[in-house]
Symmetry: C2
Subunit: 400 residues, 2 copies
Amino acid sequence: MESYAYYNPVKLIYGPGKLDQVAEEILPYGKKILFVYGQSHLKQSGVYQQVIDQFNKAGIQWFELEGVHPNPRIELVRKGIEICRNENIEFVLGIGGGSVSDTVKAIAAGAKSNFDIWDAFEDFHHKMHGGLPRAYPHIITDALPFGVVMTKPGTGSDFDYTSVTSNSETKEKLMVINKILYPKFSIHDPTQVYSLGKRELACGTADIMTHIFEQYFTLTTDTDILDRYKEAELKTVIESGLRVQANPEDTAAQTYLLYIAAWACSDQSMVGAAGGWAAHMIEHEISAAVDLNHGMGMVIVYLAWMKYVMEVIPEKFAQYGERVWGLTRNGHSARSVGAAAIEKTASYWASLGLPLTLKDAGVDLSILPRAAKQAVRFGPLFSLLELKEDDVAKILEMAS
Amino acid sequence: MESYAYYNPVKLIYGPGKLDQVAEEILPYGKKILFVYGQSHLKQSGVYQQVIDQFNKAGIQWFELEGVHPNPRIELVRKGIEICRNENIEFVLGIGGGSVSDTVKAIAAGAKSNFDIWDAFEDFHHKMHGGLPRAYPHIITDALPFGVVMTKPGTGSDFDYTSVTSNSETKEKLMVINKILYPKFSIHDPTQVYSLGKRELACGTADIMTHIFEQYFTLTTDTDILDRYKEAELKTVIESGLRVQANPEDTAAQTYLLYIAAWACSDQSMVGAAGGWAAHMIEHEISAAVDLNHGMGMVIVYLAWMKYVMEVIPEKFAQYGERVWGLTRNGHSARSVGAAAIEKTASYWASLGLPLTLKDAGVDLSILPRAAKQAVRFGPLFSLLELKEDDVAKILEMAS
């Protein structure tokens, strides 16, 4: 295992009906809040009214920012920051999925930064690759307190300190990772997930799996306990993903998805082994260009990435096949069991109704050359192998 | 799964050599500290000098409290509290195992309480059982900041908010659970565990397993992911326990033990399912009376407890046997596979050189009637079954 410093101060609240605890959790931080959410779904499902009733009862004054988009936009973030500054907002609440959580993080940090928050995203990527184009990087050092109610399993953004945001002007999708970006609380109320569409649930299921994979397929050795935790998560996500397709009101299965989404993307899952996340970086270029659902994009890119890099650690891919899919060696090589495990993964995702190629997902393939170039513009990616523009182009070709 | 509110703000620092980070982690909290440790081991191993050198270099002024006993005493805690008050101590550091960590917690809280800290232990037990003998319970509401370096895997006290302390005057061993009792940091440096004796490592290995069991054998249903995490932990602890017996300098195995000890006793393991902990309560009465090593006591009491309650959830015991020990059903009943799993557990503990009965552990059996009475003095225990004095007496007889 690699040395690490683990830290996660998020209060994670779980339970059917726990949505009714939102106002109580906000009050220690203030009574003037910005309430951020996505599309019309929140109003149709009754969540909006339930939360407003709580605000009124608790004497919380709220301002609203609606319309968070699945690949959340920096333009909306800037609007939220302006409200926070003009109205002296004390707390930011987000209700929705990962996009809402990512938006809330960027708003909370932006409200306390004396620069345009997009610069922090850019500089984070430059810094990660060792080259800063500016004398003074834009680093987040403070944020308004904020909390999240997760109504969609997948992201884990409610329990981590990463924000991923898109810039529709520059067609970029960038992230920033900073421990200032931990929510004060995250509420998991499985009854709020019932009304998600099956496609959304399928994308969320796949998204969780790829988060686990990004840390599982590692060059770090002596990871027995980390591997077993992740195999436990994978088996449970795979079962639960099928269960919620059959019955979206399967509380236990929805609970597992919410739970594992949070843990699998949290510091607990990130420490101890070097993760890769190159496939995520590549997918970000696709969804920045054509606004594809992230989970769906991950399925496609990840399958191609797995095939491209499997040769580096065939034993680990075979272990995945044996422990998660119940494959047996029976004298076969690690390569052959690993390849079968990738096939199992592909069939599983197909069984959830997800497309396995960019073409099937309706992506205009003419964007690929620019995507490959953009993916490495801060420097080569590294997941098991160093990936330069040429490698990314090959992976995208395999994903076509 | 049960509803929950998870929260754990401890910074967990892992790595060979990370002991050298102690002063740096203390400095944000102050420069005047109380340094708490156990027996002479720390001075022999060189840890003492290494830490003192760090203090001197960082300008940290330290007071010392040595001699923490394996079942830590409230008398020493009171001495530590006095030093904290007289010297205006700003931070308490503990280096050692669970007893040191438990002592540090009690000192840190006692220094900020205007009552004798033992009253908080007593009132916690009364409150847990619904009956308070006083109009105003003694509840911990503040503590000095404190941190821990773990040099012995087992307890998990460095990553949780429980303190267990003994009173040699009243022959009582009580606990207090309060989120104020979270350390600011815990350092896991596996190289500091090498010099532990094999007996200590065996007791620690067994202790970790019983912590996992106490939450695994539950009446709560729909715990798929919790079960699988715990089975992952059990398999890895079982392997690692044997590995460190063969080679105490097996860094990976020591790392797994430290890691799992922390997580298996943390809020992550405690939430989502109702745990029992009756066997722990019973063991506390034995070790309060005769000062037995806690891990050793747990082996003996837990085996008896498992046999006494297995009938309540035979399917879960069979699941444990199948998933952790690789037993197969082959047409056998859950009861029979469950019983075989208990036998496997007993053989494993015996293979670590641990005694399986109170007699073999050298415990004077005449203490048992009082132990059974004391175990339920705050009210009946509950782990799968309600356990009254009579039940505890039977379990202790089975353990004899």
